[in-house]
Every structure is written in C-alpha cells, then in structure tokens.
C-alpha cells in the first residue's frame, strides 16, 4: 500500500512542491479541477440527498419532542401536519444530565466503552496470535486458514442464532459445563453473563477479519529484516518486538480504527442475541434503536438525539486517533 502511494507521488517529482501532498498538486490547471468536480459529482449528489439531508432533518428532529404519536408519518404526503413542538436542546440536556441520566445514558455509555475496548483488544490479540501462527511454514496452513475465517464467511445474523441455541438455559454450553461440575450461568438472563456472552460472540465473529488483515501485513514484511535481526542475535521476542510490530504499524492502525468503529456501532449481535429482553446489556446503538423502534410510543426525537451523540463521540475519537497517528509517525520519521 505504502509502496504504491510512494510511486504515485514519486511520479510528481517534477512538480515544484518538494513533499508529497496536496500542496504541489493544487497548482495544477483550472481544467483539472473541472474534471475532478464532474467526476465526484455523482457521489456528492447521492450523499447530499440520502445522507446529508436526512442528517440535517434528523438533527432538527432532535430539537423537537417528536414521537410516534405526534408525527405525521401516516397521514397524507406532507409532514406538515405533525404536531410536535420545537423544544431546543432539551432532549440532549435530558439525556446527558436529566434526572435518571445515569441509568439511561451514562451506565450504557460506560458499558459501550468497556464493550468496545474489550472486543477490540480481544480481536486484535487473538487475531495477531493466530496470524503469527499461520505465517509459519506448517503443514495444512491453507486448511487452517479456511476453517478460521468461517465465522466471517457465514453472515452474522445466521451465526448469532447458532450461539443462541448454544447459550440457552439447557443448551450445549451449560450441559457441558454441568458435566464438568462447573456452575452453569444464565447466559441470556443475568446481566453480567449477558455482557460476557455478547463480548464472547462478538469476539468469535470479529477475529477472522483481524487475523486475515494482520496476516497480509505480516506477509508484506521483508524477510531480510528478520535475517538481519537474527544475524544481530535478536531472539524471538526481540524480533517480534522490533521487526514484526513496527512492520505491522500501518495495517494495525487501519484495522484497529475500523474495529473500533464497527464494534462501537455493532448492532446485529446484541439485538439478535437478546432482542428486547436485556435492557442492561444494550450498548448505546441498540438502546437508541429500542427507544425509536422497539417500544410504544416510539420516541423518535430521543432516539435521534442518541444517534447524534454517538456520531459526535466517534468523530471526536477518530480525529484524535488520526492526530495521534500522525504525531507518532512524525516522531518516528525524525
């Protein structure tokens, strides 16, 4: 990946700008811009209509008290007849520091952070471990690889039901635990075990992606670096620490960011595993869905406000993440 970008920018070495980056390219003719804008026009148009407009509309809704009883969704073709009122930032204020804000928002916020951190750490470490194993020359490597990506190959909405059968009260997991003389927790009823089960299932689903991405990263590390390290007498751990990990930096930063975004937004697993039965195991995304669509009356405004808060959290996080990455890279370059 880096190589191609280098080559692409290297092509521009005739330009005045000494460093790769948009600066030198900005000097190119007006005509180029015209083409560029024409080419991105379809996406701009589509995003404007089906992303930005709903987003703006959604934001407006969060400033109202819209729910399924006072919005005009079933009447006529216009939404004018809706009777909801503009209430300013009351929804946000209520969610963040209203009376029961802790139970409704902050406890779920903490659980969402724990969930994201736990899942991504597990995905990454297990994925890296398996990738390292698969990167050796061993017999049956392809076979292992194909078996290990199975959880990714089968759609999540299918495998979650497999897990549900396994985790049920008298399902195979508890039967097995019983026969070993271990306690059999109520996976789908007790809050702690619900959370445990959710993390377990999500880990199972998410490891293959990390494993395969990291395997690709491992394979792109130059073998001569390992030889050089070995010549210098580096042991296995030192080679891992000083060759493998730096070599994986680019891939890791990408997959970790993707992993965090996906896990934070992970809807299907918790929704399908528990349905409406687990108010305390809901992360913010599923909770917001439940407010807007899983209950009567449907609290549209509040649900949309949760959505906005979630988006804000992710945007802030991603900005910091990228800034942090850039700073680290500069430090290394110096």
């Amino acid at each position: 990946m880096t190589a191609t970008i280098d080559r692409a920018t290297g092509k521009r070495r005739g330009d005045r700008a000494p460093r790769p980056g948009p600066a030198g390219r900005l000097k190119r003719g007006y005509q180029k811009y015209w083409y560029a804008y024409a080419m991105i026009a379809p996406v701009v148009l589509v995003l404007g209509v089906i992303v930005l407009y709903p987003l703006a509309y959604g934001f407006y809704l969060t400033l109202t008290d819209a729910d399924s009883l006072n919005s005009a969704r079933t009447i006529g073709v216009n939404e004018i007849e809706a009777t909801y009122r503009f209430i300013g930032i009351d929804n946000y204020a209520d969610i963040l520091w209203g009376e029961t804000a802790y139970d409704r928002f902050w406890s779920k916020f903490v659980w969402t952070i724990v969930w994201t951190a736990a899942c991504v750490v597990l995905h990454y470490t297990i994925g890296l471990g398996l990738a390292l194993l698969l990167n050796q020359k061993i017999r049956g490597r392809t076979f292992y690889r194909l078996v290990l990506i199975l959880p990714w190959a089968v759609p999540t909405f299918v495998t979650v039901f497999g897990w549900r059968f396994m985790l049920a009260d008298a399902g195979i997991i508890n039967t097995a635990l019983d026969s070993l003389g271990l306690p059999s927790p109520a996976w789908l009823e007790d809050t702690f075990w619900q959370r445990f089960a959710a993390i377990m299932v999500n880990t199972w689903c998410g490891v293959p992606f990390m494993m395969i991405s990291l395997l690709g990263g491992l394979q792109s590390i130059d073998a001569s670096l390992y030889e050089a390290a070995e010549m210098d007498g580096a042991n296995a751990w030192q080679r891992f620490r000083n060759v493998t990990l730096p070599g994986l930096r680019a891939v890791s930063s990408t997959v970790v960011l993707l992993g965090i975004i996906w896990t934070f937004n992970q809807f299907a697993i918790i929704f399908l595993l528990f349905g409406n039965t687990a108010p305390d195991a809901q992360i913010l995304v599923t909770w917001s869905y439940q407010l807007g669509f899983g209950q009567q009356p449907r609290e549209f405004a509040e649900s949309a406000a949760y959505g906005m808060l979630l988006l804000a959290i992710l945007v802030v996080f991603t900005s910091f993440y990228r800034r942090w990455l850039n700073r680290n890279e500069q430090q290394l370059a110096n």
Binding site: P42, V43, L47, G58, A304
Partner: protein, 303 residues
C-alpha cells in the same frame, strides 16, 4: 520506513535458535518439533472453536422437533431432512431470498456505478476541497445505525417508500456509495500513474483515460467493491427489520427472526433456514475472500 532503523538496536545476548514462547517463533520453516506441535495444537483448538457454532447449527437443523436443541443426544437416532423440505415448501423462504437478492444487487449496482468515477478522481486528482471530501467519505462510514434510522424512517414514510425495495436500496446506498468510493480509491492507487500519463500523451481526456484505460484494468477492484456492498447489504439487520413490514418482502435477515416471534419459536425450522442461507453465502465468500481482504485494508487511514 521506520523499521530498518529500529531493528539494528536489538542486543545480541541470546542464541538465535531459542524457542521459548512458541507463539512468537517467527522463523521461516525451521521451528522445533515441540514448537510445531504447539502450533498445530493451538490452531486445531481455534479451528474447532471457529467451526463448532456453525456445525452445531447444521446438526440441530437435522432434528425434527423444535425442542431438540435441548436434547441434542436424541437427534442421532432420528436425523431427517424434513425441516429443509418444510422450509422450502411451506414458508416464504423464496420470497425472502428474492427480496434479499433484489435489495443487495440493487445496492451493489448503484454503489459501484455511482462511486467508480469518484474513486478515480480522488485517487488521481487533487482539487480544492479534496481533504474535506475524503473526510466526509470517512465520516459516513462512522454513522451508527441510530443516526439515520429515525430521519430516514420519517422521510421514507412521507415518500411512501416504507416497505418497498427501493426505499431499502436507497438506505443501503447511504453507506455503500461512500464505502465503494473509498475501496476503489484504494484500488486505483495501485494502478501506475504512467498509464494515465500515456493516455494523456495520446490525447485522451481524463474521462477517456478513465473509461478506456483504467476501468478495464480495475475489474478486480470493482469486483471487491461489489462483493463488499453485496455482503454488507445481505447481512444488514436493523434497517431491514424496521423498514420491511410485509412478511413476503422480508429479507432473509428479517425472515429468520420471524421464526422465533411468530411461529412460536420453531427452532428446528430456523436452524434449517439458517443453514440454507449460510451455504451459498459462505461459498460465495470463500470464492472472493482473498480479494476482499486486500481491498478492505488498502484504503488505509491516511486520507
């Protein structure tokens, strides 16, 4: 790159053929028998864990009774394919399949068509607003389900697009289009700039270069974007659950849930349906997985 400067600092204090933590052994093909045994052991266990839930689902789907999942031992004696026959003959399975295919293929086609030129433009051209545009593309991938769900639902019901394939396709496009653009940028980046320049020297406009030179070369990239859109749309749960009301228009992801709510938890039928869905999808996935992975990570976090 940073790696070269770092490696030389490793002190030389231990012999190179040390095999202490087998996980970290990273030598080309010459680990000790013990290390190799451990590797196979771990991989086998991991493989079994990966395989088991799916295998269990297949096994349960062969039991004729809806509570067989609680007494799996009994299934051995009465294995039958009746569940499959029932699902195929007496449920809306084929309607669901049709919905899923219409919606996923629709999303795929629109996503790839709309995003192709954009991927090229952001790969080759720098224009005022480039960085902001890339940021918007990245941003749309962060949208939690919850952000667009409510406004989309309101807008779609105003337009009477609830419970229609078009509505769901439009919703899916809101994530598929930017993602396809992102993926394709990653792929176009790997095509040498020389090709563009050759085209330009020969008098092609940027559109001509794109259509005649780059597009034919980027079929694998287009395919990855298409596969990814398809798989994502196929597996989507939240919007499909909310927007599709008529049980003949359910996608498979919704239809599968309906076994538990409507039909009084017919878990045997559900397992059979799950297997029927899983087989073609995973076969498809295995065919494309190598390209998929390369394409997914190609975009990178550097806009």
């Amino acid at each position: 790159m940073s790696t070269t400067s770092v490696t030389t600092t490793a002190p030389a204090d231990r012999p190179a053929d040390d095999t202490t933590p087998p996980r970290k052994v990273r030598r080309r093909g010459e680990s000790s028998p013990l290390g190799r045994l451990t590797t196979h052991g771990i991989l086998t266990v991991a493989g079994l864990i990966a395989l088991f839930p799916v295998a269990w689902l297949v096994f349960l789907s062969l039991g004729p009774d809806k509570d067989d999942y609680l007494r799996p031992g009994g299934i051995w004696g009465k294995m039958t394919l009746d569940n499959y026959a029932f699902v195929l003959q007496h449920t809306n399975f084929f309607d669901w399949l049709k919905s899923s295919l219409i919606v996923s293929l629709g999303t795929t086609v629109i996503g790839v068509l709309v995003a192709a030129t954009t991927g090229y433009a952001v790969s080759r051209m720098r224009f005022p607003g480039y960085k902001k545009f890339m940021w918007v593309l990245l941003l749309t991938q962060m949208f939690p389900v919850a952000v667009l769900m409510v406004p989309m639902y309101q807008i779609m019901s105003d337009l009477r697009l609830i419970d229609s394939y078009l509505g769901l396709v439009l919703v899916y496009c809101s994530t598929a289009v930017p993602y396809c653009a992102w993926l394709m940028k990653g792929y176009f980046d790997t095509i040498p700039f020389e090709i563009d320049e050759a085209g330009r020297v020969d008098g092609l406009t940027p559109f001509g270069t794109f259509a005649r030179l780059i597009l034919p070369l980027s079929k694998p990239g287009l395919a990855v974007a298409a596969f990814y859109s398809f798989i994502t749309a196929f597996g989507e749960v939240a919007f499909a659950t909310t927007f599709m009301l008529d049980d003949e228009k359910y996608t498979l992801a919704v239809g599968l849930q309906s076994f538990i709510s409507e039909h009084d938890a017919q878990r045997n039928l559900m397992a059979a349906t799950a297997v029927l869905i899983a087989i073609p999808v995973s076969a498809f996935f295995y065919l494309v997985q190598k390209n998929l992975v390369a394409g997914l990570t190609a975009g990178g976090t550097k806009g």
